[in-house]
Each structure stands twice: as C-alpha cells, then as structure tokens.
C-alpha cells in the first residue's frame, strides 16, 4: 500500500526545481541538469500512474524506459554541440550574446557553397587565412564585446 499522492507531489516538486534550474544557470551543462530533473519528474509521474492497478499494456514502465533512452540520446547530441560551442567561442555561457558575424571572406565563400570546392581546399583556405581575415575577426570581436 502506498499513497500515490506522495510520488505525485514529488514529481511536481522536481518539475518546479527543474524549471528553476533551467533558468538559474548560465552554464550550458548545468542547464542540462535542470532538463534532466524535469524529465525525471515526468518519469516519476509515468511510473506512478503506471503502478495503479489496471494500467494497460505495462505502459507506465515501458514509457519510462523509452523516456530514459530518449534522454540518453538527447544528452549525447547535446554534449557534442556544447563541446562545439566551447571550441568555437571559448565558453558555454548561455547568457552571452553570441557572435553571429560570418562575414570573414573565406567564410562567406564557404557559406556560399561549402561543397563547391573540396572540403580540404576550403579548409586550407581557412587555415591559411591571411592577415586580413585575422584583423576582421579581431574587429568583429571588438564589436561584440
């Protein structure tokens, strides 16, 4: 015997904490923590509802398992992108105004048609970015900061 209002209350609490966590953190990884808390609140709710007698097709636990798996898939992609973000901009601060300038010449050509030239060429061009490109990037950074 268990009173089901208890897990329900816990789920509500966790969801609230998760929402707060999402909004209170500027570190992208920590925002993920908030998301996980909300997901777990949902899972708890699924389990609670599924533990009632008469729940069909074992739906509660099955759905919980699905959600856990989805969360794992998500976190994989998420972490990859967060890493990219860190490498690109040197931080994973979600409150920062991102640098949207793409207008260094080599990137413009790049954007126009990445596949136009072999990737290697484009990369070489980027690697051998002349001084102008460097200056442009510096100027862009000054503009943003």
């Amino acid at each position: 015997m268990i009173h089901l209002s208890l897990p329900a209350a816990l789920a509500a609490l966790l969801a609230g904490l998760g929402v707060y966590g999402v909004l209170a953190r500027r570190n992208a990884v920590l925002v993920l923590i908030g998301v996980e808390l909300v997901l777990n609140a949902a899972n708890l709710l699924l389990v609670t509802a599924g533990s009632r007698p008469g729940a069909p097709l074992s739906a509660g636990p099955v759905l919980t398992l699905f959600v856990i798996t989805i969360a794992a898939a998500e976190i994989t992609v998420a972490l990859a992108i967060i890493l990219v973000m860190f490498r690109r901009s040197g931080h994973i601060d979600l409150t920062a105004v991102p640098d949207l300038t793409d207008d260094t010449p080599e990137e413009r050509a790049d954007e126009a048609d990445v596949a136009d030239a072999p990737d290697a060429d484009a990369r070489d061009a980027a690697v051998a970015a002349p001084e102008t490109g460097r200056e442009a990037a510096a100027a862009a950074r000054e503009a943003t900061s």
Binding site: L10, L65, L83, R87
Partner: protein, 188 residues
Amino acid sequence: MTTRDLVFTAVGVVTALSALLSVTTKHVVHAALWLLVSLGSLAGAYLVLGQELVGLVQLLVYVGAIVVLVLFALMLTRAPIGPHAEIDTPWWQRVAGALLGAATTVLLGSLLLPLFSGATADLDTPTTTTPEVAQAVFGTWVWPFELLSVLLLVALIGAFAVSRLVLHREGAEDRRPVTAGAPAGERR
C-alpha cells in the same frame, strides 16, 4: 501512513533536497554530483513504487551513463573547480526562474494532488512484473522500440559527426588568437 509511505517519503526528501542543491550550488562539479544523488535516490523511489526494472535502468543509464557524460563535459569545457560566482544567471532571471518554478509546482500540484488524493496502490502483489514489461516492450511496443533504436543510432552518428567536424574546424580556428582559448571571463 504505511511503511512504504514512510520509506517513500524519506527517499523523496533526499531526492528533492539533492535536486534543490544541484540547481543551487555554486560548485559546478557539485551540481553534477548532487544530480547523481538525486537521480540515484529517485531510482530508490522507483523501487519503492514496485518498479524494479525501471529503478535499475535508471541507475544504469542515468547514474551510470548520463551523469558521467555530464561530468566529462564539465571537465572538457574547463569548468572551474570550487565555488564560482558566474555559474548563475543574473538575479532577475533567477527570480523569474523561481517564480516560474514555483508556478509549475503549484500548477502541477494543484491538479495532481486532488487527482491522487486518497488513491492508493497495493504494491505487495505487483501488477506489472519485469517479465511482463519485457513482453510488452517486445510485443506491443515493438514498433516504438525499433524506432528508438534508430533514434539512438542517429543520435550517435550525429554527435560523432558534429564533434568530428568541429575538430577539423578547430584546427583553423586555433590559429586565430581571438576565437579559441579565451576563457569566458576574459571575453566579457
């Protein structure tokens, strides 16, 4: 109040408290660790609710995989060790977060508690056993299960490709003194 109620309450308190800490602590790494605790105790809660399989999977996947991934990510992004003031968003955003979080809790609570008030489940004779769950997963739910496998595959490919692409790009970026390597604090 049954025994299960009491146990659940205890586990629940631990879960909630550690969750609270994980979203409020100033230590980046601590946050991940508190999350570990919270999710672990939630696995306990599942056990109390009679869902052994879910509890185990929770431990395996979340505690064993996801939190570890998170920790790795924190390290890879050169997270500072120790308390760090810049971990949180500006105060007004936190206040808004608190309000919205509270609103969420209140909203959910006000709807769910009446729904479940007085509802009990007799878990001593479990209605859903692990074999049943397994049967359901590979029987009724086989279609979403297969899709899930595709999803995982694609997620892995995607993550792999994203990180690979960036590794290439990074080579170009690294030579630019401005974009790479500058810590967040310096940039602002």
